[in-house]
Symmetry: C2
Subunit: 622 residues, 2 copies
Amino acid sequence: MQVRFQPDDVTVPAREGETLLQAGWQAGIYLRQTCGGQGTCAKCRVELLSGELTALQEGAIWEEASGRWALACQTVPASEVEVRVPPRTRLSEDEGAGVLTETDEEEIAAPAPLYLRREVALKAPTLEDATDDLLRLGMALRAEGELTGARLEAVRRLPTVLREHDFQITVDLARRGGGWELAEVSPPGVTEPPFGVAVDIGTTTVAVSLVDLSSGYSLAAAGDYNAQVRLGEDVISRIVFTEESPHGLHDMRRAVLNTVNGLLEKLSARTSIDRNSIRAAAVAGNTTMISLLLGVSPRFLRREPYVPPLTRVPVLAAREVGLRIHPEAQVYCLPSVASYLGADLVSGVLATGLGHSEGVSLLLDVGTNGEMVLGGADWLLGCACSAGPAFEGSGIRSGTRAVPGAIEKVEVAPGGRSVEIGTMGGARPVGICGSGLIEALGSLAEAGVLDRAGKFLPDPDNPRLRRGEDGWEYLLAGAADTAVEEDIVLAQTDLDNLIRAKGAIFAGLRTLLQVADLRPSDIQRVYIAGGFGRFLDLERSIRIGLLPDLPREVFRYVGNSSLRGAKEVLLDRRRWEEAHETADRLTYVELSAGTSFMDEFVSALFLPHTDLELFPSVRLAG
Amino acid sequence: MQVRFQPDDVTVPAREGETLLQAGWQAGIYLRQTCGGQGTCAKCRVELLSGELTALQEGAIWEEASGRWALACQTVPASEVEVRVPPRTRLSEDEGAGVLTETDEEEIAAPAPLYLRREVALKAPTLEDATDDLLRLGMALRAEGELTGARLEAVRRLPTVLREHDFQITVDLARRGGGWELAEVSPPGVTEPPFGVAVDIGTTTVAVSLVDLSSGYSLAAAGDYNAQVRLGEDVISRIVFTEESPHGLHDMRRAVLNTVNGLLEKLSARTSIDRNSIRAAAVAGNTTMISLLLGVSPRFLRREPYVPPLTRVPVLAAREVGLRIHPEAQVYCLPSVASYLGADLVSGVLATGLGHSEGVSLLLDVGTNGEMVLGGADWLLGCACSAGPAFEGSGIRSGTRAVPGAIEKVEVAPGGRSVEIGTMGGARPVGICGSGLIEALGSLAEAGVLDRAGKFLPDPDNPRLRRGEDGWEYLLAGAADTAVEEDIVLAQTDLDNLIRAKGAIFAGLRTLLQVADLRPSDIQRVYIAGGFGRFLDLERSIRIGLLPDLPREVFRYVGNSSLRGAKEVLLDRRRWEEAHETADRLTYVELSAGTSFMDEFVSALFLPHTDLELFPSVRLAG
């Protein structure tokens, strides 16, 4: 059964029972979807130009004025078919280019890396001291720690290199357990340092930083979209994909490996450093991302009682993981705490120094989940609240991820009859992204277009406020002004989703504070992490009740603290141990287990909150 | 250039510069040699039937009444040649079949093996206890010790197998460092135990014992000649081979791997146990044998100051070593002490319990080197004395290894005019082996044919005593009665070699005793180890001054204690630690470093010794 995709004019055979979505993958045509192909997000709709489809669920094929439409994930060709993929539905191959890279060029002083290169002079053996070569080397290296293992290749080279160079040699040591493994033996005078990579695997983007392990310098960094996005936009849809698609887990693993290895190739080309010279990797990411990288099924992560397969990952060889660096390079995956409190947060605690700080600090990473850690040197509490995909631009009618053309700035004039928008990269608008949504919500509330519950106040004189298919909606940009041939609007249902998302995050914070018997004003520092935080308008975020109403100077945007923490681990082995201590002492508060979270959640479904005393600085409009 | 070998009638092309010896290897024709192809042992002589050879050293080609002869290792074809390999020169392919296997069926009680299989029930997770699967497993296994690592394949299976079987599963654990590595995860109810192999790699023979790691039962054992024998008969000739022959180290490694893997295949076939079910191996052997197995050059072992490349071998995977068992099976090589005091002796100390015993014990392994350990629970001293290859039947004109047809019993009638001989397997004599030499020396001394310095007493009336090319020689068997078409004789030079060999061993013992400030009579137990010991006539060995003159009941033949110790390590991880403690506390006494050894050696060049008070029970003839 042939399927022709337009406007690409690409034809592929569809296998028995294969959906249009899956047929598209074969053709290299990736359609949007956030539900893992379950037929619930309705992102994958395509126009049926000719032929017949069989629907796998009711409503998967429908008529509109413009023609016949179908959900690609829920329809199977019943004849030769021709479909058109509208711009909204298409996941652009170019999007990766738009990922911004945070090159954190700050050097880490006095590195004590997980992989060492040392020139060492041994005492030459005598008849009275005929200790074997390997033990002799171990004694010479005592200042570095204990030599507890050795790779066979290195042992094979040791005797000859020692004697060809008068017992002065260069050795490479890789950290393993509490000791060192002899990784390589070379003649003296090696001037090239060993290199390492820190990797942060985000659900949406992946970042890799290449560092010189001897000096601690960051040499280059690169980022890209996680190629898994094609197979599911958020964590849950990806887990569903691994369960539902044949070879789903394998495909997910290959996708992220392709992304990471592509970045490694890019960094290698840019710096002229052979990938084989990269001898260690530290990897951070949320629990699902780490599972998928390792090819470990995360299926039970999303089922009560939300048990991760593993949180402490053994040290693995790059060849086992599939990273294209030196095959024996050790891969240190940072530990995670729970299914939804991952190594990215543990890494962030390291990077911010939160675990050592006096008083109470908060680390907050806002994404599909609001993940946060509260505490300091004495105690650490963490939780994750399901914010839904609103902040990622999903589950929102005109939502989009933070790609060029995403609306990120929204300024609604008082009364709401006019609006100014700004897009990423200044491109023609394609939709509205998470930070734009927060701006819009705050701005609409300030302009008096919404009531305190976030509901549109009917205003027949406002040309931008209209009744759409889902009730009231507010027009941000008309079809003629967009790149997607459709109006970009904010519907009441979108605002409701957004308010639930911000309410969940604030309720999570309140719950942690309650567990610790503290008030918001006890928080002395707030670290906002993640790509999303960079674009967050602080005032608007407080205005809508997403962030607590604290003196503005306590807030600090810390960028990709997950990548930064991984880099610190790579360059300082005490940090590797600290990461494990942090994971051990971080108490995970399971919000679905207690009832106070639900009370807090309901109280937070207002702008900014039911309890206005919590937001003294917020001026209410109207 | 073609070379035709007779009587096989096999023709092979000789590559440029290739010797007849090397051309033979290509044809699968292995010639005797004990010098590593250096042209000094003269074992590889072949008869030149036609064609011309170029000699690489003087005297490598000569004329005899019977025709033209050549040393195969020192001659290169100058034209097409045809050579005959006489029976003496040929290393028979059948010899392996004659290796006796010591199946030590004694079971080791209460095994605490290096590889465990356990069925374990985990507490099912709840929202209040959502600890990850791997940590949860670690907690359930606490009684066994700490779970410090995991193989990726096992982690991948863990979540599913746990949930498909109600959190009751079978796990395999492999010992690594002070903890356990999760090696495999299976459903509950696995009835097959994991299997392991103990391997002893001797210079001459290799023995493998297959054990059930759960019960500790020995299931089967097999032995064979070490295929390295073809490339050099003793340790030194093999080291020379690795240095002189292109790919010599590789060839040596392949040879021993072929032997071990062949035995594994045999054991697998005999027991119907899949080699993949063998999950651990413990390996003992002398320092050179372990080096060659690992592909680590032993070249510096034989050069002053005799430094081994390594004595503590890291735990390796079977795939790295090349053993054809489960590729991830861990290989535990027992530690050695010095270049000539190897893991075989350390293993023997374990097997005999010498390291725990009260009072003073001696473990003695007689081979090319006399290796011995003296001591007990409080202290351990060891040394190795180069006895030369006499006890292996090399360096002796009619010498042979302990193969069928080797003369092992010699009874010389008083006066020496007649002699009775017995051969191994009752076959027609091919030569005289080590134990036969000791019998012969003792018997000749008792019969009054030799003086106290071991020199033949001229006796013109004795038809067996005649002048040969190397001085006096004693006829053991006439050419007509042998399988090698030559007289089997003992020449004065042979006896001199033998006396030097026994003198070196006794001098080593005396030196150790001196270091410990003890007399021979302080020794309470003597363990005689090694294949050689089995055939040793105790009275004759004391008579010639090889063994100390102690009450006969203190001597115990312990068989292949090296294999036995390896098996104990496999089945009891405390023994693995004990092996390292033993290697640590065993003080190696370097005999070439002190002068007292040379004095002792000179005193020991008599039968039995210059100091007759050391041998009160020995009656002197004449």
